[in-house]
Point group: C2
Chain length 290, copies 2
Amino acid sequence: MWDPDGVRVACCQIHPRFGELDANRETGARAIEAAVERGARIVILPELASSGYMFRDADEARALAEPDDGPTTQGWVQLARRHGIVIVGGFCEIDADGRLRNSAALVDPEGVRAIYRKAHLWDRESEVFVPGDRPPAVVDTEFGRIAVMVCYDLEFPEWVRLPALAGAQLLAAPANWPAVQVQPGQVAGEVVRVQANACVNRMFVAVCDRTGAERGVDWIGGSVIAGLDGERLIGPPEDGGLAILFADLDLAQADDKHVSERNDVLADRRPELYGPLVAEALLSARDPAG
Amino acid sequence: MWDPDGVRVACCQIHPRFGELDANRETGARAIEAAVERGARIVILPELASSGYMFRDADEARALAEPDDGPTTQGWVQLARRHGIVIVGGFCEIDADGRLRNSAALVDPEGVRAIYRKAHLWDRESEVFVPGDRPPAVVDTEFGRIAVMVCYDLEFPEWVRLPALAGAQLLAAPANWPAVQVQPGQVAGEVVRVQANACVNRMFVAVCDRTGAERGVDWIGGSVIAGLDGERLIGPPEDGGLAILFADLDLAQADDKHVSERNDVLADRRPELYGPLVAEALLSARDPAG
């Protein structure tokens, strides 16, 4: 796993406790420090790492929400400054218009560099959150270009394509993957999709899942880091429990999209054929009465 | 693997010999008969099953090409009529304008129901073939709605999405997958991408690869049939050699796109956000001078 040209990426598969904001911030901080001690420069935490996930309703989420410059992201900024690192993690956001968002922040020593709001909501999240409507930001950090999305977003290859087209070298994705049945000798569909996202875009993908039952719901604990050929570089941990996963990634390798002498996974796309979308958009633009 | 509501699908991983049209047609016919004897009703052959793959140049391909109603597809129609089956297989086509195509046919007792022309060409294929520019046809057969694409097409999730949106229940894909290195305990990226294509669309995907070295090139021999959760139902064969893979698929299950009480993998798409494409198309439509 060690790569002399690589930057060490860590996924901290922690166990947030529902509603315990301070304790969860402390758990996250300790995991980040542990990852840094082992050389990590890019550290990823799960989705909704500060609040927990299993909100009964929007009121409960509102009581645990914070603005994009609240104590959770500001705590991460302090850690990023102290250690000269990048942190990506999920938190329950209340935006400037008072709407609840399932968000992830990317912070580095400069401060909060990006807030991403989950655009594809899972199950009862739609009763709590307003979905985002902006594509994943691609942030130029000291270590490379990093994009952020959250959990179910990863199941839409059109969405993952956008940061790849915008030059992302690493996609960092906080997740809370509900437990699923897996066939013997195989991995969960969630992990398969991450691997495919990595190789169809030749972009590294690091997903940080959570662990620990919450209000009767269990999780895959399937954190994984996938390489440019779609291989699992590390993860998921066999027992799905507490873990920090490390991989040394030479992110510049993601700039080369070749898969043969003549093939390039992005240049070989034929977007002019990928409508009906385009066709429909053109039609409605040409015929405003239609 | 047996499903009382299922239709038996077979992938015939055969060994075509370069340039031996008659012998390859015979090999294909024998494999189809063997699959039918074991109950298959949908039978898939590899890419370029009649001609072989390793053309030195376009002239060599031209000498092995045939029209869409040539001896290869007509042989398949005879077998389809005799046994009441669907056959999908690849052949080297010369179209009505004299252009060479890397094509696949879907035939059933009614005749040739669809000709699909590979739209994403691999490596030196671009020196031989003209890429297709039509989306995968979705054919309503006696057994279900079946779509066809070929090999490298599968690496473009936008392309696979089109037949899923058009209602395909099974994607049948002839392939010739060049050999690759695979990490211990993992499967080739080619297989990972097939599994992801299946689950992000909740559409069965059956890929028929070839086996047997040809002009120094070896193949994965990675034929695989993937289920709606992205699991490998069968394949790839461990030794990558001659094999017929069977799976009984209840194709109607693919009509249900739900993955939770509130989530549907197609309805949850947010295509209005998946531009730049759409944005660009709209702009150019609104401003013809632009």
